[in-house]
């Protein structure tokens, strides 16, 4: 029991985790990640619950445009702003994540995607982007996310739960229901860094709270409150 609790707390993918928030779909095996699959997402449900009380909020989606996400957010009466961060990442850092990144590249990345007045958004859909950002870009992105979110605003991010060497699948996330997502693989990419739960908490240290949602597949979900 203690080892299971430790595994859950510190994110060791090698140990079985408690089946908290288990999805209703079968767990895709790491070795044979399907091109497309549907999953339950309690993180998404939590994120959307904060958008239900009032209309006219602003949501930033960093995963590129999709009809499903636009419909999901605008149906709630909100405005959605979409940015395809993956495209810029592919242009700036096409290969494995570099150990050093020139300041000009960091600046271009930030000005391309976070050129907003402070506190512009009530929510940000970050999806699984953060693990793939090389170190200086990641830190500046976290700062930028903190800046563009309003106090009390939320962001939804995903992290891979299994530390495996090599490239990981990268997905487009489509909102298919109040607590369900369709994930479509858009390629593979070498992560710059993988995070355990403590690492995720440290990453969002300047935010007010980090809430974890565990699932039986290879992704961990976090809802972070500014």
């Amino acid at each position: 029991m203690v080892s299971r609790l430790k595994a859950w707390l510190f994110g060791s993918g090698a140990h079985p985790r408690p089946e908290v928030n288990a999805p209703s779909v079968p767990r895709p095996e790491a070795a044979e990640v399907p091109h497309r699959y549907d999953r339950q997402s309690h993180g998404l449900a939590e994120f959307l619950s904060h958008l239900r009380d009032c209309e006219g909020l602003a949501v930033l989606d960093l995963g590129g445009v999709s009809q499903a996400n636009v419909t999901a957010i605008t149906t709630l009466g909100h405005r959605i702003h979409t940015e395809d961060v993956w495209r810029t990442l592919d242009q700036l850092f096409p290969g494995p994540p570099p150990e050093e990144v020139e300041a000009v590249a960091v600046q271009r990345f930030l000005s391309d995607h976070f050129d907003f007045p402070e506190q512009s958004f009530d929510g940000v859909l970050v999806w699984d982007l953060l693990e793939f950002l090389p170190s200086p870009v990641l830190e500046r992105t976290i700062e930028a996310l903190h800046d563009v979110l309003k106090p009390g605003g939320h962001l939804l991010a995903f992290f891979h739960a299994e530390a495996r060497p090599g490239a990981l699948p990268v997905y487009s996330f489509r909102i298919t229901g109040p607590a369900s997502l369709s994930l479509e693989r858009r390629g593979h990419r070498q992560p710059a860094r993988l995070f355990n739960n403590r690492g995720i908490e440290q990453l969002f240290g300047q935010f007010r709270s980090v809430k974890f949602f565990l699932a039986r597949d290879h992704l961990r979900e976090v809802v972070v409150t500014r």
Partner: protein, 148 residues
């Protein structure tokens, strides 16, 4: 040098639609009282209050757009207000903010900007006039290479 769109039959532009062909460059303001198909370059503003704008696959528009409906197949840099519907096709590239009552986005489209769905009552379409000899389209600045 004429800046008027031509009506040369084009396989991609529907009949009865004014056309800015792919080798035409227009800089200035365009107002149209009929549907317009842009497959060339336009820089300035585009207003088709009661009509449909289509930016074809070769079209490159750097302009703010107001139209009843807009279909984007090519590239647009600018804000779009489409009173009834905006259709962003799979190879389209759109950078700008969008305000519309309805939006359709095909997989593969590139879009960077905000989407605001207007919930006002959609005005009932006015009876469609018979196609006039020419649309009320004007371009205030010289157009380059008007051959179509």
């Amino acid at each position: 040098m004429s800046t008027m769109p031509t009506r040369i039959a084009d396989a991609e532009a529907p009949k009865g639609t004014a056309l800015i062909g792919k080798s035409v460059v227009v800089k200035g303001q365009i107002f149209s009282r009929e549907d317009l198909y842009v497959d060339g370059e336009v820089e300035g503003t585009l207003e088709l209050q009661d009509n449909r704008l289509t930016v074809g696959p070769h079209g490159t528009v750097k302009a703010n757009i107001k139209a009843k409906e807009a279909v984007i197949i090519g590239t647009v840099h600018g804000n779009i207000e489409a009173a009834e519907k905006l259709d962003i096709r799979k190879d389209a590239k759109l950078v700008g903010d969008v305000k519309t009552a309805r939006i359709v986005i095909e997989d593969g489209a590139y879009f960077k900007g905000s989407i605001d769905i207007t919930r006002g009552e959609v005005p009932r379409p006015a009876p469609r006039p018979q196609p006039a000899a020419a649309g009320a389209l004007s371009a205030s600045a010289p157009a380059a290479d008007p051959k179509l």
